[in-house]
């Protein structure tokens, strides 16, 4: 609690130095990892040496065209946003019930919610896709969204349950006394209070959805491929592909996620919560 003691002097204890040191170290490694890929994606060729022999942006052009990334990005965005929104809508109320009530069969239910996260999609992906094709949902956006919801909904439930446990039920009681129905309690009371949690869950689901290869692949049609399918293809398909092209695609992938992340963080600060108001200076 540097904030408490450090009214006028800013002191860093050894612990703080250690922590910040580790953070800086992590960031340096990260910069190296990301930097290497970014630099390579702009290099003409880079066999050896600190930097590539020359610079070019051509790799971006070629991958963009080859995979029709414009369309793919739009699809990716649509799928990711839809999955995030729907999974929050389904998951948060369920998490609420699990956080606030103990009832017979709760354990069984918890395991049922855990399984989709635990069991690799290899097992259930094809039958799931079959079901979706049967109902004419697969092969288009809706199928990809539904399939990706399968691990996303449980994920939201798991992440949100502890958050809801943290919130004093008295506050809800007060809202009810003001005439707020359950829906309103969710939108106006719990919603804002749970914002950091929902934001965290949303970001993580976004990342997982955008990165979910199997389920997307199995249920996507030609117009509903997402970026990761193209990316995995470029990485692991047979054939010869310039390393820079893969790197360019990886950078595009990362940049699009980054844009989403930064936008999300602009709107909501994950560290902001009710109690922060109490953190007097």
């Amino acid at each position: 609690m540097a904030a408490v003691s450090g009214g006028r002097r800013v002191t860093l204890r050894p612990g703080a130095w250690l922590v910040w040191g580790a953070v800086v170290f992590f960031m340096l490694i990260l910069a190296g990892v990301v930097g290497a890929v970014v630099v390579d994606s702009f290099g003409t060729r880079w066999f050896t040496g600190w930097l590539p022999a020359g610079w070019t942006t051509r790799w971006y052009g070629t991958t963009w065209r080859e995979f029709d990334l414009g369309g793919v990005l739009v699809v990716t965005l649509e799928v990711a946003l839809a999955v995030v929104v729907v999974s929050l809508f389904i998951g948060v109320p369920a998490a609420y019930a699990l956080a606030r009530r103990t009832f017979p069969g709760k354990r069984v239910l918890m395991v049922a919610f855990l399984l989709p996260i635990l069991i690799p999609p290899i097992t259930y992906g094809v039958p799931l896709a079959t079901v979706l094709y049967k109902f004419h949902l697969a092969g288009k956006l809706s199928g990809v969204i539904l399939a990706n919801l399968v691990p996303a909904v449980p994920f939201v439930i798991l992440v949100m349950t502890p958050f809801i446990e943290q919130i004093d039920p008295k506050i809800e009681a007060a809202a009810r006394m003001c005439g707020a129905r359950t829906r309103v309690i969710f939108t106006r009371i719990l919603g804002p209070l749970l914002l950091p949690g929902m934001l965290a869950a949303a970001i993580l689901i976004l990342v997982r959805t955008v990165g979910m290869f199997e389920l997307t692949f199995l249920t996507a049609g030609p117009d509903s491929q997402t970026l990761v399918v193209a990316l995995y293809y470029s990485v692991s398909s047979a054939g010869i592909r310039a390393q820079q092209e893969i790197d360019a695609m990886a950078v595009i992938y990362t940049m699009s996620m980054l844009v989403l992340l930064v936008v999300a963080l602009r709107f909501v600060n994950p560290t902001q919560l009710v109690t922060q108001i109490k953190e007097r200076d």
């Binding site: 580790a22 290497a36 369920a94 502890p162 934001l199 965290a200």
Partner: protein
Amino acid sequence: MAADASMARMALRHRLADRGMDRTLLLLLPAVIFIVALFIYPFVYGLQLSFQPQPGSETVQRYGSGPFADYHNFFADSYLRDTIWTTLKLSLPAALFNVIASVPIAYRMRGRFRGKRTITTILVVPITLGTVLTAEGLLAFMGPTGWLNRLLMDAGIADHPVRFTHNYWGVLFSLIISGFPFAFLLTLSYLSGIDPTLERAAATLGAGWWQRFRYITLPLLAPGLGITFCLSFVLAFSVFPSAIMVGDPAGQTRVISIAAFHAAFEQYDYSMASAIAMIMGAVELIVIGLVLGWRSRLYRGATGGKG
């Protein structure tokens, strides 16, 4: 009569309410319907597939076509069985490290200071990298001719390139790079729900920063950390692309999903793949069961102060 019936209904309602069953449980309905409709059937399908060894497969040749033949095969063949241990050796340390490292950093990020948002963002950014960029980046940065080895050699710390990739460490690094921000983001959010007044109260009772952390913040954070660990562990346990790209997929990092992938997509033995996937789920369930069991013994409730 009608009054009696309604009385009985009321009484039932009282009893149910006592056991925690009231209309709040309706909120579970969409999630339950969703899971049943889109998961349970496919899952049961996969489960029963795992009990039906594929005719002509290696399993059947060795162990016949009994319902447990695939499981038998898995546990009899050390090449397959060892993948459990190989995977645990990667995923447990990675998940533990990610959770443990995010706690002090998240703890430092409370309160207000300049640049906080920037640091938070930078720390969270790696989740956007994706496995591919992380793997390519690790190979390029830490590879034999990467910047890191160049630096080490130019600085005279090493005289030939140090192997950071294509082994256990490469995969561990990638699990940390992609897993840490995840754990950090969750930890930070869980932490933000704890009323700072409680720590102040502890301070007036003579608790130093470590004690405040140890006895107040940590116990209140622990339920969230339990979940964070579980999720981090699950992510790390199902490591696949990076085990191949930056690991040593034939040896040190032949993780269980490689075995499953191999069975499904190289040998086209879907029932073996299902069996392996079920085993994966079971191993994870055991670990998570332990963690959640421990969690259920902790205090879980409002951490917003005022008792």
